[in-house]
Subunit: 290 residues, 2 copies
């Protein structure tokens, strides 16, 4: 990686935070301490203090005092949780909601003021570039790790996968078919974003030089990042390193994005090799060592 690229990113960050400081921090800290403002937003439609503390990462004493301040201003009421007398819940009063909406408006106005200086085409360019950066940064922070077949996080992914297939297949889906093989002879990968699982995939041996890729799935909230391609490439690389020269996989005609991904990645339709009723299409790819 070039030092110049790093410098450019730093420059951009400097510029952007400076501009943003003018756009964001000030609007929040208008006449209210920042902590209070953040809390006002986070309370939203009410919440346990326990939750709020966790979400904002606050000390219990600190939170308590912030809430008192907001209560004194008539923006918040704190009551007892109906189910558990130890827990307390905060809710916004009408004045609190108005105040929050007001902060929100001011923020929006600032952004509008900025966008005002651009014409339509330029605005579209700006938004497109932002989407691009957002996408790339998310992708860059995703970690992909090898995990044992029984890993709980991987199973959680498979459960979500099964639920999705049940919705998407016209004939429904029997979750039993997704159970991972008793022992994975290849490897299973788990993708996490900020510690939360957002994708998985595995390959096993069908023969010493033939592998099957299965359970390749990306969580809906992480789609469009290019994570499917990333997982697929890692799986292929792992298999190739293990002597595999041919990769097969089966899929269902309802999974159109997956099929498109396979085609883009060099897979060609092949004779069916599986007896699963859900594998309506079979694909194959030879791995050239590179």
């Amino acid at each position: 990686m070039e030092a110049e690229q790093i410098e450019q990113v730093r420059d951009f960050n400097r510029y952007y935070t400076r501009r943003l400081g003018l756009l964001t921090d000030q609007y929040l800290g208008q006449d209210r301490p920042l902590g209070q403002a953040r809390l006002l937003f986070e309370i939203g439609d009410g919440g346990d203090l326990r939750d709020l503390r966790a979400r904002l990462g606050l000390d219990s004493g600190y939170l308590s005092r912030l809430l008192r301040a907001l209560e004194d201003q008539g923006l918040v009421t704190v009551g007892v949780h109906p189910g558990d007398g130890r827990v307390r819940v905060a809710t916004l009063t009408a004045a609190g909601r108005a105040e929050r909406a007001d902060l929100d408006d001011r923020s929006r106005e600032r952004i509008a003021g900025l966008l005002d200086g651009l014409d339509d085409a330029q605005r579209d360019q700006l938004l497109a570039a932002q989407r691009q950066i957002h996408r790339l940064l998310r992708l860059a922070t995703v970690t992909v790790e090898r995990v044992p077949g029984a890993a709980e996080q991987a199973r959680a992914c498979l459960r979500r996968y099964a639920a999705e297939l049940g919705e998407r297949f016209p004939e429904g889906y029997d979750a039993a078919a997704l159970t991972p093989p008793a022992e994975v002879t290849g490897e299973q990968l788990l993708a996490c974003e900020d510690g939360i699982p957002v994708g998985c995939g595995l390959w096993t041996h069908l023969a010493p030089d033939v592998a099957e890729i299965r359970h390749l799935w990306v969580a809906p909230e992480a789609r469009g990042l290019g994570l499917g391609r990333l997982l697929l490439e890692r799986l292929e690389r792992g298999a190739a390193a293990d002597g595999v020269t041919t990769v097969r996989l089966g899929t269902h005609t309802a999974l159109t994005e997956a099929i498109a991904l396979y085609r883009r990645s060099g897979y060609r339709e092949a004779a069916d090799y599986s007896d699963s009723p859900y594998n309506q299409l079979a694909f194959e790819k030879s791995l050239q060592s590179s």
Copy 2:
């Protein structure tokens, strides 16, 4: 402007600042208060306390205490200004320079760690998108205002313009030729970024329905933003509103970017209308009312 666009910008800002908080603030405030870290950077190769105060916007008492803290840590020495005994100057010690370099490195490493998750093509995309945003934000914050012909900031622009022409014209340039007409019958525009002049331009009447555009210039530090085009459009719009149907302008063959801009903007080469020796090329455009 669509509410949705504003929301998207806000979302991006939220995401980016969160990510950046992990990338930037922490590295600075590693084990040193933020104020001290900023000061460490700003001192650089030494500087008057007076300057530092102005640049960082600090109270003299506060600065004094920050410096004491850094001095106690052996990172900075404060001496007397050779020329003026009242003024004091701060310089980094070897340890101070090392510390600064260290902070710098840590920042760089964070960025490198982020970019690590991307392949070459994605990195290029990221940088391109950042450049795009940077450009558009700068353009969005530029203000363009009508100013009287004698405005000091406009004259400053013209002086810089003349200096540049002197360098770029093989035959040199006589600054007298740039003096604005005694009275501008049209209007003069001044573009400023953060209050600093970065461009200018004006039009005057050659006849009731014919205008000449002159002194269209963009400061080197603001080139590539699309500011030239912006100024040109505003001038044309202003002239059109005043009944002008034909705009003329003359330029020099050495000013290739300007010529390209005129061509892009619908100007066609025309017969020379001016007697200025620097106007080697003449352009003309009819304004259709729109």
